[in-house]
């Protein structure tokens, strides 16, 4: 049993990493994201070029330095002529000859300062261009993501939770931006530096350079080994950490429940347990991480010692100049620091890979509702709706049908009431009409034509829908209403708001139509919000109007008034009303009673009272309230 547990634990580490990586392949992810570079190609290419020149300038500085020290030691030994040489293995280039060491020092010093200033310039340019490239890339990714999400069908949207979409457009994008910065700056700089510094040190002393042959592999091995050990530990810690935050958050949210049941102590105990776990996992992960720095120093020091010992022997035997020795020490540092940077950069790329994968999932999501090639680009003739043996499943699984064999025939201008318990698929039924989802089997015709044959914009233009979860957007009332019709006249606005019984309260506001709603319409009450949503939908002047439980917060009186004026002002419009109150649908031409994804019965009120037992029960139940009159 215990062994099994242990095995499970080990497996989970591997699957943990796999899970974080997502399903898509790396080269695919890179190709997708690379498409977002677009106009930022030039700065993206310029950045590593400037980095290249920056590195070249830097790399010569210790070499010039060594000339100074060589000249100095030579002067002490009594030399009278000083050469300024560049030695590359067997080739030696004598550039200048000076009469005094002092002269050489000044020229060499000036050269060094000059190189440093040029390198500074190149470095700054690289920094500037990389900022342009990175922010440009992330902007494009966000832009593309947003536009892709807008093409999503409802089914596509259901695949992602809203918080996950938000993360994919914010945090994940900045992670990818950070990775891109790493690629065009660090991953350009470090290998250049590594190669040039290696060339320089080999040119100074090929035999001493053998040190690197040992050091660099050990080093890279250390980094990769470290990453492999640390990564799963951090993931485990982060998961626990998320869980702890979840517990905290639900306690903040549910504080009344906790207090009402006097569970403060219980919850605190629960929290402390997780908190302790987090601390342990945190320590487990970080104690390895802090090992990194000492190991890194250890390798550097080992190299230094090796060079001091072997190089020192060479110096003492006169086989090496003191200047070359110091230059070599400088290159050691450059090489090892570059190697660390490569390691760190790779680590960061691995971390960003998960984010990139998540973004890619959005790009890769297959839009499941699109226009047919020869889609009908004509206005919908009328508001008649026909369901022909319609079945539907959210999971596209024939064993899990959400709607089964629905047949309905609604004439243009009819009022349709839909009733049924929670989960009976009332909403599902109406969402098929404007093709928010596609049927699994059967067909739906609007105006005599299959909804899949229209251009999507045509069918949605003619169907207005007030969703169950109404959303108003930040902005004024008028701005929100104009979603229904961009260029609506004041008369049209008034007509819609009057029909939706919203006119009176809008005009009672100090600023009328210009009243600011705040995010999510927080400045109006629930009932007012619902009426604004209805008005917004009416402005489309639709052939079909769908009200999905849209008046639940509106009182019966106002509800009746809305229905009345709808009948008067929009008499050609077919209206579907999903409601919980019998009174809202009682006078409909057709009443549909849904149960478990099936139409249990349909007919007008009188018919329904006869044929539909549950309908009659609810009716009687709700009638009780007014019996006392």
């Amino acid at each position: 049993m215990a062994a099994k547990e242990e095995k499970k634990k080990r497996q989970s580490v591997i699957s943990l990493i796999k899970e974080e990586m997502g399903t898509s392949k790396s080269d695919h992810v890179v190709r997708k994201l690379a498409k977002c570079i677009r106009e930022n190609k030039t700065p993206s290419i310029l950045t590593p070029i400037f980095v290249f020149f920056e590195v070249i300038c830097e790399v010569f500085i210790p070499l010039i330095m060594s000339q100074m020290i060589n000249a100095g030691t030579a002067a002490q030994a009594g030399a009278t002529s000083f050469d300024f040489n560049f030695d590359f293995g067997r080739w030696s280039v004598r550039l200048f000859t000076f009469d005094s060491a002092l002269e050489l020092s000044l020229v060499a010093g000036a050269l060094m300062v000059g190189l440093a200033i040029i390198s500074m310039f190149f470095g700054a340019m690289a920094g500037r261009f990389s900022a342009v490239a990175i922010t440009g890339l992330t902007r494009n990714i966000r832009h593309d993501e947003y536009n892709k999400i807008q093409q999503f069908s409802f089914l596509n949207l259901d695949h992602f939770s809203i918080p996950s979409l938000v993360t994919r457009m914010t945090t994940d994008v900045s992670n990818v931006g950070g990775a891109y910065q790493t690629i065009i700056r660090m991953l350009a700089r470090a290998p250049f530096m590594l190669i040039f510094a290696l060339i320089m040190s080999i040119s100074i002393s090929p035999s001493l350079s053998l040190v690197f042959a040992v050091a660099i592999p050990v080093f890279l091995l250390g980094i990769f080994g470290g990453v492999l050990i640390i990564f799963p530990r951090f993931l485990r810690m982060l998961r626990k950490y998320d869980k702890m935050n979840e517990v905290t958050e639900e306690n903040i949210r549910a504080i009344r429940t906790v207090k009402a049941f006097v569970r403060e102590g219980h919850e605190t105990k629960k929290f402390k347990e997780i908190s302790q776990n987090v601390q342990k996992l945190q320590f487990d992960a970080e104690k390895i991480l802090v090992l990194g720095m000492p190991v890194f120093s250890l390798i550097i020091y080992a190299c230094m010692i090796a060079i001091v010992y072997f190089g020192g022997t060479d110096v003492m035997q006169g086989e090496m100049n003191l200047g070359d020795f110091t230059a070599f020490l400088s290159y050691v540092m450059n090489i090892l620091i570059s190697a660390t940077m490569v390691g760190m950069a790779l680590f960061m790329l691995v971390l960003a890979r998960a984010s990139a994968g998540r973004i890619c999932e959005i790009f890769d999501e297959k839009i499941d509702i699109t226009d047919k090639e020869d889609a009908l680009d004509e206005e919908v003739k009328d508001g008649s709706v026909d369901f022909e043996d319609v079945s539907f499943s959210y999971s596209k699984n024939p064993d899990k049908m959400n709607l089964e064999h629905v047949n309905l025939h609604i004439k243009a201008g009819q009022r349709v009431g839909i009733l049924g318990s929670t989960g009976s698929s009332k909403t599902t039924l109406v969402q098929l009409i404007p093709r928010l989802y596609d049927v699994y089997e059967g067909s739906i015709k609007v105006g005599g034509v299959d909804v899949r044959d229209y251009k999507i914009s045509r069918i949605r233009d003619s169907v207005a829908m007030v969703l169950q979860n109404n959303t108003l957007f930040s902005g004024t009332i008028e701005e929100n209403l104009r979603w229904g019709k961009e260029d609506a006249t004041q008369e049209e606005l008034d007509k819609a708001t009057k029909t939706a019984q919203a006119y009176d309260f809008i005009t009672s506001f100090e600023k009328g139509y210009d009243t600011d709603l705040g995010q999510g319409g927080v400045n109006v009450s629930g009932g007012q919000k619902q009426r604004l949503c209805i008005a917004r939908a009416l402005l489309k002047n639709p052939k079909i109007m769908i009200l999905d439980d849209s008046t639940s917060a509106v009182d019966m009186n106002t509800d009746a008034k809305i229905r009345e004026s709808l009948r008067k002002e929009f008499k050609d419009t077919t209206v579907f009303i999903i409601a919980q109150r019998i009174s809202s649908i009682q006078d409909a031409d057709v009443i549909i009673f849904m149960e478990n994804g099936k139409v249990l019965a349909q007919g007008n009120h009188e018919e329904m009272m006869k044929i539909c037992e549950p309908y009659r029960e609810i009716c009687e139940e709700q009638q009780k309230g007014v019996i006392g009159e």
């Binding site: 832009h143 504080i255 914009s457 229904g484």
Partner: protein
Amino acid sequence: MSKKKTDMPQKKAIISMKEGAIIFRRLLSYFKPYKLRLIIILLGILLSVGGSVAATMMLSIVVDSYFVPATQGLEATIPIPFGGIVGIMIAVYLISVVASYIYNRQIIYIVTRIQRDIRDQMFEKMQRLPVDYFSKRTHGEVMSTYTNDADTLREFLANSLPTIIQSSLTIIGVFAMMLYINLILTAFIVVMIIIMLFFLKTIGGRSAKNFVMQQKTLSEINGYVEEYMSGMKVVKVFEHEDKAAEGFDKVNNAFRSTARRANTYANILMPIMGNLSYINYAVTAIIGTILAVTGFGAPALPLLTWGKLVSFLQYSKQFNMPISNIAQQFTSIFMGLAGGKRIFELIDQVPEVDDGYVTLVNAKVDENGNITESEERTGQWAWKHYHKADNTTTYKQWKGEVQLENVSFGYNPDNYVLKNITLTAYPGQKIALVGSTGAGKTTITNLINRFYDIQEGKIRYDGINITKIKKDDLRRSMAMVLQDTHLFTGTVADNIRFGKLDATDEEVKAAAVLANADYFISHLPEGYDTILTADGANLSQGQRQLLSIARSAIADPPVLILDEATSSIDTHTEKIIEKGMDKLMEGRTVFVIAHRLSTVRNANYIIVLEHGEIIESGNHEELMALKGKYYALNTGKIELE
């Protein structure tokens, strides 16, 4: 989680020096239990810094005593073989490395422990805060203390603080060594440092300013994304895609330009600092060579040897690093202390006071009606009332009678939301509260269980003033089913058991059956062991409500408060659970708040509230006969908002 990380810390990151010092001192007090480890850390830092400084100095000894004499054909000036001196170097390096590992590991230990201590303290405190605290803040605000503020504090403790100590010690050590090697060179280095600090300040400052702006545009973009992602279905229904995309591009571009500016400054700072250190290096080398060649200043100053020049060059490199390291810590110090301030604000909140002394105990009642306290669960309860005056203890049977007498209350004292409320709920009665939003219905229930304390009047429970009853016992004796059901991460059974922690599986099932929840639970993939996440997101609103009813059922209290408990359940489902509800209400004193009038109709007593006052009361028939507000509501003449 990510969204909350965006704009919070920047906004309130400003604290005064004095405040900072107080917070810092308070933070230090958390280190107290770890004194021994602290000493190890300090020793470790000293050894590791000392080791690396000494090692560089040894380089100069090697050069001067072995290399230079060797090039001039002389013997080494120190009577140790070359291998020996290298061996000593190895030892010094090793000590430095090992010390550095030990102290870093100790820091991680202490910091994770302190974080945990603070976290636990925060949570424990939070649980004891009055409900009022939470209604005055958004959830995000409170949560941000646990995430943003704890993170910045961690950054401060784990990184900034050790970096500052380590860097300062390095600066001192290196500076001392440089002074020892050569005064003139050191003076030059100081000048260079001042130049570097100047660049740090100007460019770094500009970068910081732009980062603040970037943060602002970032929160704009996050706001937009959040609003439109949650409203995407509406966008699609209205074919508003183009307009919405246009709006997004606008914030997206604005963010890009501020981010570009901020990053440009940050990006160019690095090459400038790096190359300044090269210039520094070059000029040091020139001066050094001149000094070494000419022997300038030899009589007054110690002679600059080659070995010392090599070491000095190394030191000048070692000197730059800690300075920019310290400079980089300033933001995180301020952010960390500001985070600490908010954390301490939470910890320092005044908790709910509970000076009640009447407790609820298991009781046995004999034939004569005498009540005695019992150790085990008897199913009967009594209020244990200790009278200080005559040092006696009396018991009173627990029945569930609630009485309000001239109660007035306001969330702030100048604005009463309840005025002169008098009502009595006898054991087993069902009292319905009706009225518009803001009429004070929920407030009454908040007063009965003492989420808030009343300003005037009296509330009595079984004849005892509720201020005398211990809050925990008071609340334990009544169950609430709230409009917003809150479920906790855990199994379905855990969530029901929340009402009675030691309930058996049978009791859990019985409660679920009572609430008519058993049917849907047994159809869940794992039945009662199905794990609920994210506040029960995988359940429908109605199912969650059923669970919360089951939770109250298992608690089995004599007083039940149903605050819009069935508002999100459709009438059909409501009918199904009605029986369960009726069973649950049987024999209990029940307060019902409901929007839907059908649920209040059969109450013993209906109270119609308006603007905090009782305007009508009586049973359904009486109120309908009155033809007042209740009548109007029932016949749909007026709107309930």
